[in-house]
Amino acid sequence: MTGALFRRWLKLDANHRFLLLTAPVVMFLLAFFVVPLLSILIVSLWRTESYQLIIDWNLDNYAAVLTEPSYRTFMLRSLTSALIVSVVCVALAWPIAYFVIRYGGRYKLLLVLGLAVPFLTGIVLRVIALQGVLGPIGLLNLGLMQLGLQPVQSLMFTKTATVVGLIYLFLPFVTTAIYLSLLNFDFKLLDAAKVFGAGNIRAFWEVTWPLNWVGTVIGFALTFVPCLAESVTPRFLGGADGTLYGMAMGSQFSATGTWALGAAMGVVLFVVAGLTLFAISRLVDIKRSGFTGAGSRD
């Protein structure tokens, strides 16, 4: 039986073999990526009326998303907070990952895995826990008062609270990306840099930073893109004027029942995220990334 199958396999030409071998991944992409995306695209061109989808091809939803000031505000707010969150995450993750790699010794792996421990409790609990920290009589204010300082009045239910929450949620991803990059970095290169005239800081910017740039960019993108669509964190922490784009999009599918408009918002988000990824990828010159095999030996 298997012999017969094998004989038939041998008779296939290269093109047919390629089709057969890539079939699983193609099926997966079709079922979970192309079909949902197409259906979103189609729905976005229909309209909804009193919780009913009506097939009526039009571009009104896009006109609404692109022209209505509130959606534009939400999008800008989302872009800004995603940018702040990603930059702060990278800035925090670098020293964390760097010191763990250099001085973590045999506890390296344990320390990095420790960053993932909060994940075990789920995102809602983690965000609600932050309410306990940032709230009017939360841990932060209690601590400040203990030190005889003025409590911060307006921290909870602000955009700042959302940003703090998002940083808290995404820091482990960025740290892991940079950690893995540093793990493959040959620190002996710093010896070479120093012997050839660079001080510690110069050696970092000349050698360590560019050779871990790809890892840094990946960490940045891993934060930036999901932050754009984030809806749970702003809902719990953001307050009345803290609505983000992802949150507004979510409510089209629940509270207001305007699925077609929500679908259009989803398509716009997809395009914005795609453009962002494209822009980010332009920041990487793979030849200068230090990856071996980037160029061919001839």
Binding site: K188, A192, A193, K194, G197, A198, R202, R288, G293, G295
Partner: protein, 358 residues
């Protein structure tokens, strides 16, 4: 002297990597630090480069005490064993790196890069990245990066260890040539005695963090100062055992059940332990035609290892021990299984008191 190390010491916790090293090196010298792995020779090099701080002692380069200076203020360059080229920079950018750090004007930088590219034949490779180069090409770039800033001293840490044999021999000659042209000291760390012997003016034999001897390479080879050097440099037969008087009035070492006559016993008293070494090329072999030869050792030729220009003869003694002799194959005319006689000039025997050190 141009480069002076005074009582240099480096400890890592309770481990002493470098112990009280004193070395004076002249401006035009090629010096090798020769020693087995773990002997501390690389640590010594890193101390000179400033990549490690000495626990005690001083380092003086060209009249200036650099002991407490960071590496980038010492004007010393280094060629690393695994090259350590910057993978994100082209060959040209790698060569420009030391010059950029010196804030050299661009025109002068270009001049230097052209010069070093010319002498190392790197001109064609300037736009390539290190991962597009062969091992030998990477080696030349690493050497170029070391020479381009015209350092006060060039340190080389086993730079040829990753190259194949053919390439290594060519590079040995080249490296020596650059040292003479530039007129700066090269300090070359290696565990390969052939490299050390072919390139150096002087050799410092390093063992257990200390210098066993620092001398002219021919002295190191033919007049080993310690039993460690006798074992480590060149290839020798070793005879170790108690010193005894023999009927002729001279002394000998009782080795296995043979007596190895000694030429000059010095202060060695009877019954003390001593070891004697004879280089394999000074060990002579001839066919045993049955005539009495009281001062020669009888054995049977077990095998001949052909090495090209010469051959090695593995001779088994009646007691089971083995002696190696080497010679030009065509001149010897013995074949495995033959009974042979082994002899040497007793004056060429190097004698050391005490237990055998490994």
């Amino acid at each position: 002297m141009y480069l002076e190390l005074t009582n240099l010491k480096k400890t890592f916790g309770s481990f002493t990597a470098v112990a009280n090293v004193n070395l004076s090196i002249d401006k035009t010298e090629f010096v090798s630090l020769l020693g087995p792995s773990g002997s501390g020779k690389s640590t010594l090099l890193r101390l000179i480069a400033g990549l490690e701080q000495p626990t005690e002692g001083r380092i003086i380069v060209d009249g200036k005490d650099v002991t407490r200076l960071p590496p980038y203020q010492r004007g010393i360059a280094m060629v690393f064993q695994d090259f350590l080229l910057f993978p994100h920079m082209t060959v040209r950018e790698n060569l420009a790196f030391p010059l950029r750090m010196l804030k050299m004007p661009a025109a002068e930088q270009a001049e230097r890069i052209d010069w070093v590219s010319r002498i190392l034949s790197l001109t064609e490779l300037q736009q390539r990245y290190p991962n597009q180069l062969s091992g030998g090409q990477q080696q030349r770039v690493a050497l170029g990066r070391g020479l381009v800033s015209r350092p006060k001293v060039l340190l080389l840490d086993e730079p040829l260890a990753n190259l194949d044999r053919e390439l290594r021999r060519d590079m040995e000659i080249e490296i020596r040539r650059y040292q003479i042209e530039l007129g700066i000291p090269f300090i070359y760390v290696t565990h390969n005695q052939e490299e050390a012997l072919s390139m150096s003016d002087r050799i410092a034999v390093v063992n257990k963090g200390g210098i066993e001897d620092f001398a002219d390479k021919s002295t190191i080879y033919s007049q080993p100062k310690t039993s460690f050097i006798a074992q480590f440099v060149g290839r020798s037969n070793m005879f170790a055992g108690p010193v005894v008087s023999i009927p002729t009035g001279a002394r000998a070492i009782a080795w296995q059940d043979l007596l190895i006559p000694l030429h000059a016993t010095g202060k060695l008293a009877d019954h003390t332990i001593a070891s004697a070494y004879i280089k394999i090329e000074d060990t002579l072999i001839e066919r045993d035609d049955g005539t009495p030869a009281p001062d020669k050792i009888r054995g049977r030729l077990r095998d001949v290892i052909f090495r090209g220009q010469y051959a090695e003869y593995l001779v088994r003694m009646p007691n089971g021990a083995e002696i190696v002799a080497s010679g030009i194959d065509s001149a010897t005319r013995v074949s495995p299984g033959d009974n042979v006689l082994i002899s040497w000039d007793p004056q060429k025997l190097d004698l050391f008191p005490g237990e055998v050190r490994q």
